[in-house]
């Protein structure tokens, strides 16, 4: 199944993907919220890695599910669609791709029928001097080079072979600017989606963070990216840390993120969902009402989509 988009690029499999609406990224503070506020979200996005213990590559029983988390997930899955936002693929890692991890995502997809899944355009694992991969401590952005583009393109193809549903990659936050990159970020994203047929998870708060820290115009960035490849949008909040603005998911979205959502909503013809995410430690500050306010506001923007992108 293929869809044509504004730029003539053909994306695989978007046509059969349901349009979901406004979603919420699940976190440790939300078990009670999701049960008592089912009307507040159209789908639940999950980070599957939080639902299991991972004893690491080579362990005979590598993955062990966390019972209480799974119990809540099963309950929500009976009532709302689930989409998966993975954190463990580390697709930009110059070492090897963790195929067993991919198999585990495939098992979860089979069980919860995610209409799409996503990960981050960065690397979080790095090959140590011992030859083992270890956690980098944060999602490290990749340089936008041809060599990296080729590596990720090949890996996206493998992901799509293993899990035959749309796979999206999320634009990253970066605090340092690598000099002498082969291409700009929009060019890299466009070539990646074109070459690999992956979709784009457009994180508007990441874009806002980069624009604010590095002094460029976020709206111009949106004009440069092929928005037909966007299936999902993330919105979130952040705060200042160590002298820069960060994507800490600290509570409500800044006003400019809402403006970016307003701008993007009618320019993303294949958009299927807008997900609000926040860090669980901010729940006591936001409360149930604060989370609902963000979701309601996202829903109001969602309702302003143009007829063109409502026809799915």
């Amino acid at each position: 199944m293929t869809d044509s988009n504004q730029s003539g690029i053909v994306q695989d499999g978007f046509g059969s993907v349901p349009t979901l609406g406004v979603g919420l990224l699940y976190n440790a503070a939300l078990p009670d919220f999701v049960r008592s506020n089912l009307d507040a979200f159209d789908y639940l996005a999950i980070t599957p890695d939080l639902f299991w213990l991972d004893y690491g590559p080579g362990h005979p029983d590598r993955y062990e599910e966390l019972e209480s988390w799974i119990e809540t997930l099963d309950w929500v899955a009976a009532n709302r669609p689930i989409v998966s936002h993975n954190i463990g693929l580390s697709i930009g890692n110059a070492g090897s791709l963790d195929v067993a991890y991919l198999d585990q995502i495939a098992r979860f997809q089979h069980r919860y029928k995610f209409p799409w899944h996503s990960d981050h355009l960065s690397f979080a694992q790095v090959r140590g001097a011992s030859g083992n991969d270890y956690n980098a401590g944060l999602a490290v952005p990749i340089p936008y080079d041809t060599e990296m583009l080729d590596l990720i393109t090949a890996r996206v193809r493998l992901v799509k072979q293993k899990i035959p549903i749309p796979f999206l990659l999320e634009n990253s936050v970066y605090f340092v600017d690598f000099p002498e990159q082969d291409m700009s970020e929009p060019e890299f994203l466009n070539r990646l989606t074109q070459n690999s047929r992956c979709g784009l998870l457009l994180d508007l708060h990441n874009l806002y963070t980069n624009a604010r820290n590095h002094g460029f115009d976020a709206f111009t960035f949106l004009d440069q990216v092929d928005l037909a490849s966007v299936l999902e949008i993330h919105i979130a909040g952040g705060d200042e840390f160590a002298g820069m603005y960060t994507d800490s998911h600290a509570g409500p979205c800044p006003e400019l993120v809402w403006e970016l959502l307003d701008y993007a909503i009618s320019r993303t013809p294949n958009l299927r969902g807008v997900t609000f995410e926040f860090h669980f430690s901010y729940y006591p500050l936001m409360g149930e009402r604060g989370v609902r306010t963000q979701l309601d506001r996202a829903r109001a923007v969602w309702a302003r989509r143009t007829p063109a992108n409502k026809i799915q």
């Binding site: 890695d49 213990l53 991972d54 690491g56 062990e64 599910e65 966390l66 019972e67 209480s68 954190i87 463990g88 890692n93 110059a94 070492g95 690397f123 979080a124 694992q125 790095v126 090959r127 140590g128 001097a129 011992s130 083992n132 270890y134 956690n135 980098a136 401590g137 944060l138 490290v140 340089p143 060599e147 990296m148 590596l151 970066y174 605090f175 340092v176 600017d177 690598f178 000099p179 002498e180 820290n213 840390f241 160590a242 002298g243 820069m244 960060t246």
Partner: protein, 251 residues
């Protein structure tokens, strides 16, 4: 090879502000440790001079500290200003962290235990609070229903009696300070008072239900259960064993 080396160098720098400073002072020496292209070298030399590298280094530390703080909060509270130094010392020997932190927190707990035993950390009440939080964490990541189902299955297939063992969802802990008040103070993020009653207080953690139950038990029972947990050879009467089994404390 160079992409792998670049990523490793970038991660080493992110994990160590000292290495960033060393790179600025002696670029050839630091960059010479990695198999880098000329462009990689120029990139690394440039990024360590950008303000964003400080953010990367700070985020790295925050990302490694926050799971520790979330999983052993009372221990961190008691450590106070010593927390960052202890964590930094721990990270020196535990560089290859994993995305999931439960193992790292366990290792950090074992590191602190050794530091207490060796006398490097002399903070009142730290040892007992640490053991309490580590035990709670163990329950948090134990597949409770699975364990109970396996025990039930073993009951039906077990023929002859075996040596008495502590129930896998029971822990016994020795506190040297009155635990209820101690934990109340810590729950409220208040430093516990020095005049807290001292003595031999045995706490039983029962993780068989959905919520972990904490109760004070008789010191004699506490010592007995601890001995069973340690696998000490005991001469228990059949009546004693029956009482322990009926209380669902042993298997």
């Amino acid at each position: 090879m160079t992409m792998e080396a670049f990523q490793r160098a970038m991660c080493d720098l992110t994990a160590s502000p000292d290495l960033c400073i060393a790179l600025l002072k002696s670029p050839e020496e630091v960059l010479g440790r990695y198999d880098l292209s000329d462009r990689d070298r120029r990139r690394l030399l440039e990024v360590v001079q950008q303000p964003g590298m400080l953010v990367n280094c700070s985020l790295y530390r925050a990302n490694r500290l926050s799971p520790i703080y979330n999983l052993v909060p009372h221990t961190c509270f008691l450590l106070g200003d010593a927390l960052l130094d202890e964590a930094t010392e721990f990270w020196q020997g535990f560089k290859e962290t994993r995305l999931q932190f439960h193992e790292e927190v366990k290792q950090f707990g074992a590191f602190l235990r050794r530091r207490v035993e060796m006398g490097f950390l002399q903070i009142p009440m730290l040892a007992e609070v640490l053991e309490y939080e580590l035990a709670l964490n163990e329950f948090r990541y134990t597949p409770r229903l699975d364990v109970l189902a396996r025990l039930e299955l073993n009951k039906t297939v077990a023929g002859e009696s075996k040596r008495v063992q502590l129930h896998p969802l029971i822990r016994v802990l020795l506190f040297r300070h009155e635990p209820r008040r101690l934990l109340e103070f810590l729950d409220e993020r208040r430093p516990p008072p020095y005049e807290l009653a001292e003595g031999e207080f045995w706490v039983l953690l029962d993780g068989k239900g959905e919520e972990v139950e904490t109760k004070l038990i008789d010191p004699g029972v506490g010592r007995l259960l601890k001995a069973i947990e340690a696998g000490t050879s005991l001469s228990l009467s059949a009546d004693d064993v029956e009482v322990l089994m009926e209380a669902d404390l042993t298997v």
